[in-house]
């Protein structure tokens, strides 16, 4: 089974081609350049390098957010369009789950997060259980302050993984002290090979209804809903 996996949900862009579980080719960059310009050339490049034609693909896996709204859309729209036009299955994998897979040998809780500005983070809590990564606390958009309260209450070691670690590291360490495990060397990114592995284990999504998991309403919609509520309460 030939799988193409892609992710553009953060500043990192990742593309991987696998045959079953074996990564044949992989390209990952973390630079300040436009995903829209670079994703399709990257896919073209990796597929040429591994000598595979689009028609030989059997499955598409894509990160589906949360992350940058525009970034998530670019990756998922590309993935959906390829899957639909080739009539092959597609699986969307949470970008946070993709990131959590960087901690796949860790024995306790894994907390992947992306900075979401103004003290907020996109996050969730995962734990490795037998051979699968399980979501133990639902993904959410939450103030890091409140999230750390909830994590502290668990009383367990937690591995934190984030490309935005530098923004939150001190605070996490202050709140959780030695319970917080932060890899010294890295600000880890989503690995597209991990995404492919995760996607392979999951059932295919409905190509048409697979949409980004933004974890947040568009600002205009949130305001509109708030106004409806206010009006209702007089």
């Amino acid at each position: 089974m030939n799988i193409l996996a892609m992710d553009t949900s953060t500043q990192t862009m990742g593309v991987a081609v696998l045959n079953d579980n074996i990564p044949l080719g992989e390209l990952s960059t973390t630079i300040k350049k436009n995903h829209s310009v670079r994703l399709m050339p990257a896919i073209d490049h990796v597929m040429r390098e591994v000598n595979m034609a689009p028609a030989e693909l059997d499955k598409i896996v894509s990160a589906k957010g949360p992350g940058s709204y525009t970034g998530v859309r670019i990756g998922l729209m590309t993935a959906k369009s390829m899957a639909w036009s080739l009539s092959i299955p597609i699986t969307g994998v949470s970008s946070l789950e993709g990131l959590a897979l960087q901690g796949r040998f860790y024995h306790s809780y894994i907390c992947p997060f992306f900075d979401a500005r103004r003290g907020l983070v996109y996050t969730g809590l995962y734990r490795w259980h037998h051979d699968t990564l399980e979501l133990v606390m639902a993904e959410r958009n939450i103030l890091m302050h409140d999230w750390l309260d909830e994590l502290a209450a668990l009383g367990h070691d937690i591995l934190f993984l984030s490309p935005d670690m530098s923004l939150h590291k001190e605070y996490i360490q202050r709140r959780l002290a030695h319970k917080a495990v932060i890899p010294a060397d890295s600000s880890p990114a989503i690995n597209p090979v991990h995404l492919a592995w995760a996607g392979q284990k999951k059932e295919a999504d409905n190509t048409h209804t697979l949409t980004p998991n933004y974890l947040r309403l568009a600002e205009a919609e949130a305001k509109w809903l708030q106004k409806q509520r206010d009006d209702l309460n007089g």
Binding site: P54, Y69, T70, M82, S85, H208, Y214
Partner: protein
């Protein structure tokens, strides 16, 4: 069913709040044309919210594409190239269509063609009339008011444009002040038909040799009139405001188009863009050009608003001229028409 001499282009359009896909034969025959409008979703905000438009495009795109193939009773083997609006428009909205088109073209190994949205509006006319050059195009929409001379297919000379608001933008703002439901343009057109143009609002002719437009003075004048009347507690007829405003806009558009048609000695005048659906404008232009010997083309209403058939039609011309795009094609919200 597919005679190999025929060329079938799949068009994709997502520059604003319509998700659209279409298949067009030989640049002038619509095989299928599917438009999913988001208007109901944006209504509650009183205008198009870019982030929400982008979200809807992702939700709708493959559904709309599938419908376009089903209506055409075609498969990918029948399609020769994929054309997509690359700009201008809302960047986030454009990105959805551009990335979808790139993925489709790559997956099915078809040529990719980036299309200018306004070229699309112009080519919406080709479904009913073959072009005769030199040709004058008046483009009027929420984002554009432009006069363009074409000397050949795919060749565009901009001779006039708005210096401030687009005509459609002025319509939307006046409609908001008059508290008309969104979208306001068609509402004003309707009210104008019921009223008398009894008030005189300014007409910005600018320099005598200029084909440029300006609607901000007119807009302010109308808004002031409404505010002053409200302050004095006078009731004011929405019908006559609409009729007077519209008569000013239509007067300027028609007169400048007429002058340009004369001085460039064009053999055809075409009208394009959402405001081309405006009944007042259509009537005035028809009257003006009636006995002039210059044929006037205005697309049917459903082709005035954004659709993908027009993008495929313009893409057909690019394709014939070898104008293809690479996999690095990007959305360009301020793409110039060249």
């Amino acid at each position: 069913m597919n005679d190999k001499k025929d060329t079938y282009i799949l068009g994709i359009e997502t520059s604003c709040d319509e998700t659209a896909a279409a298949i067009v034969k030989n640049g002038d025959e619509i095989v299928s044309n599917v438009v999913a409008s988001q208007i109901d979703s944006h209504k509650r905000f009183g205008g198009v919210v870019p982030e929400i438009a982008s979200r809807h495009h992702v939700e709708q795109m493959t559904i709309v594409l599938e419908e376009a193939f089903e209506q055409a009773d075609m498969t990918w083997d029948d399609v020769d190239a994929v054309a997509v609006t690359e700009g201008p428009g809302l960047v986030g909205a454009l990105l959805v269509g551009v990335n979808s088109a790139k993925a489709l073209a790559f997956a099915r190994q078809k040529p990719l063609i980036g299309v200018h949205h306004l070229a699309g509006h112009i080519y919406a006319n080709r479904f009913q009339t073959e072009f005769e050059f030199p040709l004058l195009a008046l483009i009027v929409s929420g984002g554009h008011t432009e006069l363009i001379v074409m000397h050949a297919h795919g060749n565009y000379e901009l001779i006039g444009e708005t210096r401030d608001d687009a005509a459609g933008e002025a319509y939307d703002k006046i409609a908001r002040v008059l508290e008309l439901p969104y979208p306001g343009g068609p509402q004003i057109d309707k009210l104008a038909a019921e009223g008398e143009a009894s008030m005189t609002f300014p007409r910005a002719w600018l320099e005598s040799d200029s084909y440029d437009f300006s609607f901000s003075g007119l807009k302010s004048s109308v808004i002031n009139t409404i505010h002053n009347a409200t302050q004095r507690g006078e009731s004011i007829s929405k019908q006559s405001i609409a009729a007077s405003f519209q008569s000013s806009v239509v007067d300027v558009l028609t007169t400048k188009t007429w002058k340009a048609a004369q001085s460039y000695q064009v053999r055809q005048v075409i009208v394009a863009g959402g405001v081309a659906a405006n009944a007042g404008l259509r009537r005035a232009l028809e009257n003006q050009f009636q006995d002039s010997g210059i044929p006037l083309a205005i697309p049917p209403l459903e082709l005035c608003t954004d659709n993908a058939a027009m993008i495929a039609a313009a893409g057909f011309v690019n394709n014939n001229q070898g104008k293809r795009s690479g996999w690095d094609l990007n959305a360009n919200p301020s793409l110039p028409l060249k």
